[in-house]
Structure formats: structure tokens, C-alpha cells
Amino acid sequence: MAVKLENANKSPVSGLRWWKEVGWKHIVALVMIAICVFPLLYVMSASFNPGGTLTGSIRLFEKVSLENYQTLLGSLFPRWMLHSFIVATATAVGTVLMAAAAAYAFSRFRFKGRRGSLTALLIIQMFPQMLAFVAIFLLLLTIGDIFPVLGIGSLLGLIAVYLGGALGANTFLMYGFFNTIPDDLDEAAKIDGATHAQIFWGMIMPLVTPILSVVGLLSFVGTYGEFILARIILARPENYTLAVGLYVWASDERNAPWSLFAAGAVVAAIPIILLFMYLQKYIVAGLTAGGVKG
């Protein structure tokens, strides 16, 4: 009710029309939030219940204690979290830069094999990675003999592997976005004597902040949750990232510390939500903020 009044006062619409144009959206939001949050209540409930099962009971929040969260602090968990931040941030930044550069090339230059390589980039990503756990191990052994910092057990090595997937769907997403920026802008800048690099860094990049933020977020979340390759590469618990650590806790069906695992998952999700809240203003900033209208 309060929301309604506030909106009614500020916006030109009011009453029935407000419900018709804006109000129903709040209803949709509440329903969606219920659907999103509901399964996670299980996880929350398990995280507060030491020694409980994950899905055995439908009586949620029967016991509430912070024991699991305290245990988390005493475990390697904070360290894993730090590793995850390092790896996910580095990968996200690297991915955004490389994918944006590639998208710029595809969008602004016409060269032989352009269309073909664009398609190839995406199709390559569909190649079955089923044996990656064997292949990546062999590859990193060899690389590690030559560049020890990029070998097995190294966060840097893991980041490099993730950057191998920087192009692909991300490039496509950016490419589509870049194409919506009129070429006239480039032409005008060129006439003013700007180099291609100046156009890219000084003009295009600020204009495409929304998609940079989206790709950065997608890459961050993807890396943050990846455990199959990370598990092989990081090899030891001291090196693990969050996703690997959590996966390992859950990997033993019989003895899995479900409640600890659930607490870990809850804590792990918080940074993602915060990051998204922070990035939102860039994502929805819109082209107009960059001054395309002109």
C-alpha cells in the first residue's frame, strides 16, 4: 500500500492505471522471488542444522545454530574464498578485455574469413570436453616443466586455462552489441585523426559498458562455480578454490558434511549477489548515458 502511494505521488500515472502499467510488475516480482528462493530455503535450513540431512526432512528450520558457520571460519574455507576471488576476478578481467578486442575486430574490420572464424569460435566451444580432465592434466604437466608458474597446483595456471575459453559466446554477445553502435562515430573520429586503438579504448569501450559488465559477471560466475578443471589443476586442498572445496565436501555420499556444505554454499553465494547489485548500475546504464545521441 505504501509503495503504491509513493508511486502514485511521484509518477504521472495513478490508481487503476498504475496497477495496469506498474503495479502488476511488483506482483510478478514477488512470485518470481518466491520461486527463486524456495528451494534455497532447504539449503539455508540445512546450514543452520548441525548434523542434519539435506533433503530428508520437510520441516525446515527445525534447529537453528551458527555452529556450521563457525566451523567454516576455522577450516580452509576463507582461503578457498580468497583463491576464488583471485581466479574469478583475473579471469573476468582477462575475458572482458580479450573478448571485447575480438568483438571490435569482428565488428569494425572486414577481413577474409571473418564470418567463418566468428562461427568457428562458437562451434569450437561445443566440442565435447569429456576427456578434458585427462588432456588438461597432461598439458599442464608439460607447460609446468617449462613455466613452473603455469603448471599443476598454480592459480595462474588455472586462470590461463580459463582464458582459453574467453572467446566464444562472449565474443558473440559483444559483437552483436558493438554492431548497434553506428559506424558514423568511428568515421568521425578517424577524420579527427584518431587511431584505431584510440577509437577502441577511448570511444567504443565506454559506450559498451553494459555488455562489458554482463560478460564480466557471466565470466566471474562461471569461473567462480567451475570445479571440474580446477580440481584437476589445483590438486591439493591448500590450493583449492571455493567450488572445488564445496564439491569435495559433497562428493562422499555417505559421510558428506551436508550442513557444513550448505553453510559454505550460502556464504559463497553472497559475493555473487553483491557483485551483481554493484554492477547493475553499469549494466542498465544504457547507451544514452555514453552520449551516443548527438
Partner: protein
Amino acid sequence: MRKSIVTMLAAGVALSLAACGSTGAPATTPATASTAAAATTPAAAAGNLTIWVDETRIDDFKALGEDFVSASGVALDVVQKPTADIKTDFVAQAPTGEGPDLIVGAHDWTGELVSNGLISPIELGDKGKLADNTVAAFQYDGALYGVPYAVENIALVRNNKIVQDTPDTFDALIEQGKGAGAEFPAIIQVGDGGDAYHMYPIQTSFGAPVFKSNADGSYTNELGMEGAEGEAFATYLKKLADEKVASVSMGGDQAKQAFLDGKSPYMITGPWNTAAFTEAGMDISVLAVPSAGGQPSAPFLGVQGVYLSSKSENGILANQFLDYMATTEAQQKLFDLGGRVPADTSVAEGITDELLAGFAEAGKNGQPMPSIPEMGAVWSHWGNTEVSIINGQAADPVAAWKTMVENIKAGF
């Protein structure tokens, strides 16, 4: 050789720096070189063994490693690997020479590891007091491939708050459970993929083991599930479903919770769950599973032990560790730390914990799970058939059982 590499590397860095003049390069590249140097310097210990252990017993083996280093001067590098992947990782990584010297695991990996040529036979000069069935579990093609240290099996767990005595047949137990007014007379977990392991004590009481045995207790290739005995069990399985003892909805998580909530006087489960029960304040006892088919019930034994990698370059040291593992001293230590039923009979005699003693007693008739690689197919056909009988998909349990036997035989 190693040393020369480092020198070459250093020279390479110097060269490339000279080539670049005064760029920003010096700040980063020397760091690389020094890491390389650190990584290649050999450890100064008398010896070093790498052992892979899963997360459930990593601390036990770390403590054991400290004892071993003071006894032998050989340091044990205990590396944690996830339970779900430790075997797969070993199979994939050992051939590269980057695997461990030793690996801790269940005896039923033996077949797969032998077929991949990844473990070495072990000649235990002195088998000490290791129980015969635990040593037999690690036998494959006439050789011993692991040193056992613990045994695991399931048993009947009773909630003493609901009933205090247990009849000797499973039918009577079901009647008793129904009379006790609980929601389920007894619980045996099934899940949507089936669970032949938890159903096995019932099955063996019909005289239908998975394979027939030789005189020395080792398995033959002949299916014991074939024939009238197995079919009688299939029919009984249908009864268990009708009596609400077995249900596809009842997976491991659901079974544990139902028993925790006091919904049943009995549950067939293993030692991994009892800690949660006692922590929740339940008064429980552990007993052998009463017979359903007239013969004694026998659960599968899962024996835990240490394997020796055939790719180990520390054969002597590793064998010294395995000798140490077989001693009563080490077995006692692992028992004190891990609380699993020990493989060493003299340590087993000293079990004071009643629950653990109950599991040990229930496992007396037990036979080790078969360790042949083809067991995977047997498990899935077996579980799948039990599911189809329990959920009523297969109207005729006997026919479903016969089809299963044929499918398993066709797979060999």
C-alpha cells in the same frame, strides 16, 4: 640434469633481458626463475613417500605419517583427494609418473587397478594378526594387492525407545514393527537407482549370494543369484515393498531422516550413520540382520586398505611403510584415530564401543564385495531390477529376476 636446466633457464632470462634493454621485464621474470629453482631442489629427507587419501581419513593418515617418520626417517606426504574422484584421478595420472607411491582405498577397486596395471603385488612377509577375510579381499589372480586396515559392513540398527528385543526372523521383525505403531516396520534404503548393497543381507539369507564361492572363500565366476533361491528373494522383495519396508522414494537421505525422527524401530545401515543418531540423543543398538529366507544373513564387507602404485619409484620405502601398516601398532593407531572396525584381530578384540562391536559381530558371516571390473554392470542391472520389482513396474518378480540374470550373463 636438473641443475643444468636451472642454469640454462637463468641464462635464457639474462639473454632475453639483454635483448629487451631496460623494459619492465626484470621485475617479473627473475621471480619465475627463482620459483623454478625452488621447485627443482630435492628435499633433504632420508626419503619421501606420497600417499593419496580421501577427506574422510586424511587426519588419521597424517598422524600415522608422523609416527612413521620418527620410526623410519621416511616422511609421508599425505595428499587429500575427493572420495568421488580419487580412483579416477589415480588411473588417469599414475601413467604420467605424477601419481602417488601409495593410495588408500576400498578393496573392490583391485580389479580395475590391476586391469590397468597400476598397482604392484605385495609380499607381506608377516601377515601379523590381520583377519583372513580382510586379506582375502585384496587378493586378485592369486596375488595380494593391498594391506587392509579397516572393515565396513551394514547391520540392523534398532531404536531402543520403540522396541527393546528383536525376533530371529525378518517376518517376525516386520510384525513386531507393525505392532509397535511406527510409520514403517523397518527401513531399508532403496532410492531410484536401487540399492543391492543394502538389500544384500536379506538376499543372502535366501542362499543367493551374488557369485558362488570356492572352498577357500574366494568367488567363482558362477552367478549365485541364478535359480530358485534368487527367485525366492525376488518374490520376498515384493513383500517388503507391500509392507512399506522398501520404497523407491526412500533414498539414503530420507531413510536417515525417517529413522532420526523415530518413524521406524529398525533401519539397515552402516557405521557412517550411527554417529548422527547418537548425537541426536537416540538410544540405539546394533545387531545382525535376522534371516528372512532361513539361512544366515551376510552383509557385504567393504575392506579399506593401502595399495602400492606400480609406478612408484620408491619401492623399498613404500614396502617399508606397508610392513609398518600391517603391524598391530599401526592398526591400533588407525583404529584409535578413525574408529573403524579394524582388520587386525587383536585390535578388534579390544573394541569397547558397543555399536562398533555390533557391526563387527554382524559382519562375521560377511563376504567381501567382488572386485572384478565387470561388477559395475552387475550392480546396475541388480539395482535396476530391484527397483522395478519394488515399484511394481515388473508385475512378475520372478520373470524380472530371470531377465536380470540373463542380462548379467550376457555382459560377461
